[in-house]
Structure formats: C-alpha cells, structure tokens
Symmetry: C2
Subunit: 123 residues, 2 copies
Amino acid sequence: MNQNLFAAIPVDLPDEFTTVLEEGHGIRIERIVSQGHSSPAGFWYDQPEDEWVLVLKGAARLEFKDRMVEMLPVDTMFIPAHQKHRVAWTSQNEPTIWLTVHFQKAGMSPGGKPPAETDLFPK
Amino acid sequence: MNQNLFAAIPVDLPDEFTTVLEEGHGIRIERIVSQGHSSPAGFWYDQPEDEWVLVLKGAARLEFKDRMVEMLPVDTMFIPAHQKHRVAWTSQNEPTIWLTVHFQKAGMSPGGKPPAETDLFPK
C-alpha cells in the first residue's frame, strides 16, 4: 500500500496521534503526530528496545538526563534501549511529524552483516 | 548520534550513494541518494527481505511487473520480499533522497504484538 506521511492527520489533536505503519520481526515503524504535546513533567521513557527517530516536519526538543537536543526537519537520532528521555517540547504552530523505528540494534542485519559498533548502555 | 538526512550529500553522484544509518537484529535502515539514476534496463530487484521505502525529497518512479508507481516527497511503499521491482526513473534536476528499511514482516514486533496480515508472496 502506498501512503503519504503528511496525509490522514486529524485536525484536532487532543493527544499525540500514533499510526503503526509496519510491524515485523523485532521491529515496529510508527508515525507520531504532535502539536504542542510534551511528556508529563517528571515522566521519562525507559524503553526495552532501541529506537531510531526522524523528524519529518515541525520542531521538537528531546530531553536526556544530561542534555537537550533540538530536532528539526530531517534530523535523526538513535536512542539506545533504557536511555531515559522525554519529549520536552513540540511546536504549537504546526504539527510535528515523527517517524520512529523500534528495533534491536544488537544482532545481525539482513544479508548477514554484523551491526556497527555501538554503546548500548551509555550513561 | 544526531544526523540530518539532507546533509553530507556529495556534489557529484556518478552512482547512487548509499549510507547505512542503523543496523540491527534483522533490520537495516539506509539513506539512498539518486539523481537521474535508474536500474539497468531489464534488471529487477528480487530481495529476500521485506522493504519499506520513503521518499524524503525529489521524485521517482518504481516499476513493478504489473504497474508503475510515482513516488513524491513523503510517499511510502511496502515492497514484500521477492516482489520484483526496479527504479524506472529518478529526477535529473535534484537529488532524490530515499529512506529504506529492510526487515522481516513475518514475526513479532517489540512489545509482542503480532504483525498485520500481509501477502508475502504476491504475484
């Protein structure tokens, strides 16, 4: 099926709007639409899977324990499993459209190549 | 690491330019930059993995045995394993930037949810 990632977005967004685009063996691809949403104060994501994030449109700030990261269109970020993070801010003026891929970095890729080295448990 | 997907693109593109962004257990995320490139005449991709494709910028036509599909910015497409396809055309005027995720749709996703039903072997 052919889908456009800027289509089928509700006009009213009382909550973040998440669409699962694909699911497979150890992987989930989602589109998330935010507009002025952020994580509740004091809430931190602590996820069992690795996550790769791409901002397609809008603007956001991701907060980590030791830093804040600005995310603008086509910025990407790898968030290792159990790296605590929260969405500190998203633009009020337009939808922020995220693409997220949850997966497990440790292991083999299709084609049998070993994954790139990474620190799965940064401080 | 934070990367912008429109950065670090060579000025000259004698060939398609592929960057592996992430690799993990049964998954590979790549950025591919094309400019006027297409698959050789008569060549068809016949891949063992499922593939999810997103065009971030530019314009392309994907050819299947029974149809041609126009791909414009933020169009996506799921290409099941062994569904023969080729890149029939990409724009000469600007880079076409693809995001591709190779994975295996059959199986469980993070969180243990079964994947959506799909025909892995369409004609």
